[in-house]
Amino acid sequence: MSTQTPVIRCRNVWKLFGANPEQYLKTMPAGRSYEDIHADGYIAGVKDVSVDVGRGEMLVIMGLSGSGKSTLVRCFSRLHDITGGTIEVEGQDVMALSEKELIELRRSKMGMVFQSFGLLPHRTVLDNVAFPLEMRGQNRHDRRERALEVIKLVGLEGREDYFPRELSGGQQQRVGIARSLAIEPDIWFLDEPFSALDPLIRREMQDEFLRLQEMLGKTIVFITHDFDEALRLADRIAIMKNGAIEQCDTPDQIVLKPRTPYVRKFTEEIEKSRVVHAGVLAKPINGTAVEGDPVAGDLTIHQLARQLVGDTRDNLPVAGKDGALIGVLNRQTALDVLLGDG
C-alpha cells in the first residue's frame, strides 16, 4: 500500500436511481436510511461512499448482489454518472471531464474485465484484444504486435484466430483480461471476473491473476461476492451493503475486528488462522523478554500452527521482511486464533 496521493479518491459519492435524483438528493434531509429512500421512490445504488485507492493497491469490493458494488465501480470509470459527491481519478474530477477527455482517459489509463466477459462475438481473439488499440487509432502492425504480446501473457498463444464462442469460459475470460491489459492501463477494474467460471477454473484463474499482478503491479479495484476470494486477493476489503460501505480494512482486521453485525456474519464461517498474519497479532516488544529464533511476520497463524503447538515459549519474537524484529507474538493469543476462540 502506498501513502502517496491516492489514484482514485472518492468523497461522499451518491448514486440514486429514480425520477429526478439530483433534485431529490439536494432536498433530502441528512440521515435517511436505504429503506427511507426506497419509500420515497428512489433506489440508492451508492450511498454516501468515501474511499481511496492507493497506487499499486488492490482494493476488493465485497458484497452480495444488489449491494451496489458494481454500481460503485462503474461510477469510478463514469460508466454511470454520479448523483452527488466527487470522484477524482489521478487528481482529475471525472464528472468534470468532457466526452472527449473521458474517452481519452479510458483509452490511456483504464482497463476493465467483465463478469460475462463482454467479448465482441464477431471478432477473433486477436481482434478482440486489439479492439481498444484500434479504437485509439493505432496502426495495424503495432496493435497486432501488442495484442500478441498480451495474448501470450495470459497464456492463449496459438488461439489468436479463434472466435469467442470456440473457447471455454476460462479461456474467454483470459481474452477479456488480455483486452483490458492491451492499452497498459494504470487502473484495472475487475467486475466479478471469475464468478461465471467453475470452481476449479476459478481457483486456477485466481492464481493466474495473482501472478499477473505480481508482474504488473497495477492499481486494482476488484469486485466479488465471494468472501474467500476477497480474503485471498485483497490488500484491503470494502464490504458493501445497501449501497453503503460497512467496513473497509485489511483482511486481518476485518476478520479480527468486524465493525458491524453484518460484517461479523461473513467472518463467522471463516477460519481466522488462515487469514491473520503473525505480524498483525504481534505486540510491541516493550521490555518483554524475547528468546530464540523469530518467526516471519508475513506467515499466517495457520502456517505457523505446528510450531505454535510445539513451542514452549510464552512469547515469540516476530521478524519483518527485512529480518528486523517488529514485535512479539503471545503464544496463547495465537493459539486462541488458531483454535477459533479468538
Partner: protein, 664 residues
C-alpha cells in the same frame, strides 16, 4: 394439482360477465329486434352524412403531388426524378445482366447455367450439399421449363428493391433505437403499413413513380421496410450491457460504438430482418402483376385468368422453389458463424468458396459460348408440360367422384353456410354491429382496444363503404372460423408426437414463405371461379399460422406442468383440456391474430376472382388515378384489421403475463 390449478383458474373466469359487455350486447340485441321500427339512419349511415373524404384526400394529394405538365411544384417532381434517374438506372443494370434488357452496361444476359452454378456454390457455402442442390436445382428447373426470362424479370426487381428496403429499414431502425420520440412516432405508422392492403401501396406507387418496374420496385420496397425497422431496433436493444460497457471502456466514440459494437453484435436480428425483407419483397413483387409488371406474377395472373391450370401450376412451382431457396439461404446465413482457419492457411483455401464461385462462373460462361443449351433454353426445347398437366388436372377434376365431392362442398358451403351468414351480417343495423365489435374488444382486450374499436368502426361506417366492408369482414370471419376448425385439431394432433410436430412445423414454415398469390392456385383448381374459392383460398392461407402456433403453444408448455399433470393421474384428455390448452392459449391467440391479418390480406388479393367487397373496388381504382378513393378503401381494411390486432395482442399479452410466460 394445486400448483397447476392456480394459474388456470383466472383464465376460466377471465371471459367474465362484465356488466359493460352485457350492456353493449343487450343494446345491440335491442337494435336488432327493433329493426323494423328503427329510423333509417340507425340502420345505415345515410349517404348525406358521409363526408366526402375521398374528395378531400384527392385535393390534398393533388396539392402535394404537384403537376408535371403545368410545372406546378410538388412531390411528384422529386419522385419522378428518382424513378427516372437513379432507380431506373439500377433497375436497368439488373435487368440487363439478368434478362438482357437493352440498358447500360449493354451486356448479353448471363447464361442461365452460370447463375445456377453460382447459386449452387452459395448454397454449398451456406448450408452444404442440400442447399447447393436446392439453389442450383431451382435455377435449372426454371430454365428447363422455359421460364427463365420471366423469372429474371422478377428477380431483377427484387435485386434492387430488397437492398433498398434493407438500407432504409436499417437506417430507420437505428434512428428509432437512438431516439425514443422517433420510435413512438414510427411504431403506429409501421403498424398501419403492415395492415394496409397492398393495392393501396400500388396506386400511389404508380402515380408517383410511373407504371412499370419503377413503381413495382417502390411498392415492393415500402412493403418490406417495416419488419427490417422492427428487427433492427430489437437487435440493437438486445446487445448485452457488458458488451456496451466493454466498448465504452475501450474508448469508443459514438460512431465507433454504433458501427463496431452495436451493429455487429445485433447481427442475428439484423439478418433475420434481411430474411423477412427478402421474403416480403418476393411476395410483393409477384403481386405487382396487378399493375402490369411482367414477370412470374404477371404470367401467373394471365394464366389463371385464362384458366390454363397446367402452366399456372408450373409457374407456381417455380415461385415456390424460388421462395424456398431464398428463405433457406438467408436463414442459413443467420446461423452461419465465422470459423477460424489454422495459422498459415493459404489464401485460396481461406477463400475457397469465393474461388469455387468464380471458377464455376467462368467455366459455365465459356462453356455456354459453345453449348447453346447452357446459354438459353429456347421455347421449343423447354420441357414444359403445361398442356399435359392441364389435361391431367382438368381430367381429374372432371371425374364424377371428384366432381360430386367438390360440387357438394361448394353447394353446402354456399347455400347453407356462407350466403346465410353474409346476409345475416348485412341485415344487422350498423350501430348494433359496431356495439358487438366493441363488446368483443372490451371483453378480450380491455378498455384501450375497445376505444380504438369504437373509433375505427365508426370511421368505417361513415366512410360510405359499410356494406362492402361487412362483406370483406364476412369473408375473413368465415374463413378464419373454418381454418380454426381445421388448424387447431391438426395442431393438437401433430403435437402428440415429437416427430410429427417437427414435420408439420417444417411444412408450415415452408408454406409461410410462399408468396400469398400462390394460395389462390389450389382453390381455383378445385372450385373454379366462385365465392367458395375466395373463402377457401383464405382458409388454406390462414390454416398455416393457426396450425403452427397451436403446435408451438403446446410444445412450449413447461415440462414440469405436464409432468405434474401426469403424476396427478390426469388422462390425456384431462391433461390437454386442463393444463396444456390453457397454457398454450396465449400463443394460439397470436396465431389466431396472424390468421386474421393474413385473411385480410388474402381477401383483397382474391378480389380478382370476383368478389363484391372492398378488394374489388380497390382493384378497380388501380385502373385510374383515383387516389382518394383508393386510400379510403385501404383505410377501411386497415382499420378493421387493426381492431382485431390490438384486441387479440393485448389479450395474449395480458394472459402471458398472468401465466408468467414470456411474451412471444
Amino acid at each position: 394439482m394445486v400448483e397447476i390449478a392456480s394459474p388456470i383458474a383466472p383464465i376460466r373466469r377471465s371471459v367474465s360477465y362484465d356488466p359493460v359487455i352485457i350492456a353493449l350486447l343487450g343494446l345491440a340485441a335491442l337494435l336488432c329486434f327493433a329493426k323494423p321500427i328503427l329510423p333509417d339512419f340507425l340502420i345505415r349511415v345515410p349517404e348525406a352524412w358521409v363526408p366526402p373524404l375521398a374528395n378531400w384526400l384527392d385535393t390534398f394529394f393533388e396539392f402535394i403531388k404537384g403537376d408535371l405538365d403545368t410545372g406546378r411544384p410538388g412531390l411528384i417532381h422529386l419522385t419522378r426524378w428518382f424513378a427516372e434517374g437513379p432507380l431506373a438506372f439500377l433497375l436497368g443494370v439488373t435487368a440487363n445482366l439478368l434478362e438482357g434488357k437493352h440498358r447500360w452496361p449493354f451486356f448479353d444476359p448471363l447464361p442461365w447455367s452460370t447463375v445456377a452454378a453460382v447459386a449452387a456454390v452459395i448454397g454449398y457455402y451456406l448450408g452444404g450439399w442440400r442447399l447447393a442442390l436446392l439453389g442450383g436445382g431451382t435455377f435449372v428447373w426454371t430454365a428447363l421449363v422455359g421460364q427463365w426470362k420471366i423469372a429474371m424479370q422478377t428477380l431483377s426487381v427484387l435485386a434492387v428493391a430488397a437492398p433498398l428496403a434493407f438500407l432504409i429499414g436499417l437506417t430507420l431502425g437505428i434512428m428509432a433505437w437512438k431516439w425514443g420520440w422517433f420510435e413512438r412516432m414510427i411504431k403506429p405508422v409501421l403498424a398501419i403499413l403492415q395492415t394496409i392492403p397492398f393495392f393501396t401501396y400500388l396506386l400511389p406507387a404508380v402515380i408517383f413513380f410511373k407504371v412499370g418496374p419503377t413503381a413495382g420496385a417502390i411498392a415492393t420496397t415500402i412493403y418490406a421496410i417495416p419488419p427490417m425497422v422492427l428487427m433492427t431496433t430489437l437487435g440493437l436493444k438486445k446487445v448485452a450491457p457488458e458488451i456496451i460497457e466493454a466498448g465504452k471502456m475501450s474508448g469508443c466514440t459514438r460512431l465507433q460504438m454504433l458501427f463496431r459494437v452495436f451493429i455487429p453484435s445485433a447481427r442475428t436480428e439484423i439478418l433475420v430482418g434481411v430474411n423477412q425483407v427478402i421474403m416480403l419483397c418476393l411476395a410483393m413483387v409477384v403481386l405487382t402483376a396487378f399493375i402490369g409488371m411482367p414477370g412470374l406474377g404477371g404470367k401467373l395472373l394471365a394464366m389463371m385468368n385464362s384458366f390454363k391450370l397446367g402452366r399456372s401450376f408450373e409457374i407456381g412451382v417455380t415461385i415456390v422453389l424460388v421462395a424456398i431457396t431464398l428463405d433457406r439461404m438467408s436463414k442459413a446465413w443467420v446461423v452461419k458463424l465465422p470459423v477460424h482457419h489454422e495459422r498459415g492457411t493459404p489464401w485460396h483455401i481461406r477463400h475457397k468458396y469465393l474461388v469455387m464461385a468464380v471458377a464455376a462462373f467462368v467455366f459455365f460462361l465459356l462453356l455456354s459460348q459453345f453449348v447453346d443449351i447452357l446459354d438459353k433454353v429456347g421455347r421449343k426445347q423447354s420441357l414444359s408440360m403445361g398442356r399435359e398437366i392441364d389435361t391431367v388436372i382438368k381430367g381429374a377434376l372432371a371425374i364424377d367422384a371428384v366432381k360430386s365431392v367438390t360440387e357438394t362442398i361448394r353447394y353446402v358451403l354456399n347455400v347453407w353456410v356462407l350466403i346465410p351468414f353474409r346476409n345475416a351480417l348485412l341485415w344487422i343495423p350498423t350501430p348494433a354491429f359496431i356495439l358487438v365489435v366493441v363488446a368483443f374488444a372490451w371483453g378480450f382486450g380491455g378498455k384501450r382496444p375497445a376505444l380504438f374499436a369504437t373509433a375505427f368502426f365508426t370511421t368505417v361506417a361513415f366512410s360510405g363503404w359499410w356494406d362492402r366492408s361487412v362483406i370483406t369482414l364476412y369473408s375473413v370471419i368465415s374463413a378464419v372460423i373454418l381454418s380454426v376448425m381445421i388448424g387447431v385439431p391438426l395442431g393438437i394432433l401433430a403435437s402428440r408426437s415429437k416427430t410429427w410436430a417437427t414435420r408439420i412445423l417444417l411444412v408450415c414454415d415452408t408454406a409461410q414463405t410462399f408468396p400469398s398469390f400462390i394460395y389462390l392456385l389450389p382453390a381455383i383448381m378445385l372450385f373454379g371461379v366462385s365465392d367458395v374459392t375466395v373463402v377457401l383460398s383464405i382458409v388454406i392461407f390462414t390454416t398455416v399460422p393457426l396450425t403452427r402456433y397451436t403446435i408451438e403453444g403446446l410444445r412450449n408448455v413447461p415440462a414440469e406442468m405436464t409432468e405434474a399433470a401426469d403424476m396427478s393421474g390426469a388422462t390425456r384428455r384431462q391433461k390437454l383440456l386442463n393444463v396444456q390448452l390453457p397454457m398454450a392459449l396465449p400463443t394460439m391467440a397470436v396465431g389466431f391474430n396472424q390468421a386474421i391479418m393474413f385473411a385480410f390480406f388474402m381477401v383483397i388479393i382474391a378480389a380478382f376472382i370476383g368478389t363484391q367487397d372492398l378488394g374489388q373496388e380497390l382493384q378497380r381504382t388501380l385502373a385510374g388515378t383515383d387516389l382518394g378513393k383508393n386510400f379510403v378503401l385501404g383505410m377501411n381494411v386497415a382499420l378493421m384489421a387493426l381492431t382485431f390486432d390490438l384486441t387479440l395482442m393485448s389479450w395474449a399479452g395480458k394472459k402471458n403475463k398472468m401465466l408468467g410466460l414470456s411474451a412471444r
